[in-house]
Symmetry: C2
Subunit: 230 residues, 2 copies
Amino acid sequence: MANGTTLTKGAKANSRDAILDAAERLFANSGFEGTSMRSIAEAAGVAQALLHYHFGTKERLFAEMFTRRSEAINAARIKRLDSLFAQGVPTLEEVLDTLLRPLIELGHDESRGGSYFSRLVVSVAADRDPRSCALIADNYDPLARRFISALMRVLPGLKEADAVRGYLFVIGVGMTIMAPTGRLNRLSGDRCDDADIESMVDHAVPFAAAGLRSFAAGAVTAGTPEGGLQ
Amino acid sequence: MANGTTLTKGAKANSRDAILDAAERLFANSGFEGTSMRSIAEAAGVAQALLHYHFGTKERLFAEMFTRRSEAINAARIKRLDSLFAQGVPTLEEVLDTLLRPLIELGHDESRGGSYFSRLVVSVAADRDPRSCALIADNYDPLARRFISALMRVLPGLKEADAVRGYLFVIGVGMTIMAPTGRLNRLSGDRCDDADIESMVDHAVPFAAAGLRSFAAGAVTAGTPEGGLQ
DNA sequence: GTCTATAGTTCGATAGAC
DNA sequence: GTCTATCGAACTATAGAC
């Protein structure tokens, strides 16, 4: 956003977008510290000095790259969530699918930039560095609040504290999908494929739904009263 | 392990362990690329050259640090799992508690080294870099196979593919606990605290148990047949 | 085992021409 | 808006004395 030129959007592949695309791919593969401004400039086909002209510092380049795609993904999620509730109260599964699928799909869009962002957002979300925490707070907290209240609407018994905790657990399950490392394939003897996003989401949604319903049923308050834990 | 000196263990705080402790703390806070050998040497109170004398390269130092605590954590998990099955077939909740709690507890041990490792293992587990994947495979795949078969024993209806997927989803939920960023506090208006590990595990276990039971019930096979998704 | 000193590389950022 | 050239700092790793 705020392109600086007259064009706000379009097919014109300017150098600014080329830099952001290259940065997204390289940052996702090697992290913030592991990626050099030199390598980004080379991948984008521009001089290194141009990166500093457009973004000032490496940190601001990272933040703009992160915000750019976060906004696209969250706009798609909010739009789907709104259209869901426009037709009445949706099912829990529909809400969870709306939460997880756009991030997965847009994070794996191979056509442009793609396939890298979902991995990147996992490492930023798990990072305790204040800069990473600020990036998550700015880009994802408003969305989180929308979905937490949506969860409470579709699951009447769910208390707010459990909705928040449950939301974060769902994000944790989603992280498994967003960072396909090949481990699922290895551990399953190649019977499963963690690169098969559709299948992963199709399993993650009912898993998360069952977990949340157990919260709504009031199963957990103090040490699982009748579950027999320890 | 393989200390090099006559001492295999003990109170003797040799420089080798001091280096590993400092490395654990700094790598967890700033990542592999973001941590310099200089800063580790300084934190350990030794010359930088000593790091290379003991470990050769930065990469091998990281691997030894990672393996050291992984072995301690997984030994505790296996020991608890074995003692659980020695008394008959445990509950699903007991198995999940055994999977999650030692990593959390040992990862948050403030007394020595501590509190850092659990954050570190999250970033390594989510990393797609072949070196990180190898570290996870070497240190955690044997444990994963043990727990996956344990899940199938305590949940008779659970197919192996779903057990593997479910195991990874549980690890995803656990990641939420292992990387406390303060986000839970913020989103809940300080009604919850993600630094309260006990409470987090007490909620994560029933959440994960409900998710796994839904797999065992055969609720998911092809697009959630009767759930009404989309 | 532990140190000092340093070689050799790469980094983020800037200056200044066009 | 884009480039070439370069500064000064930081990095990993090694050499060699003790």
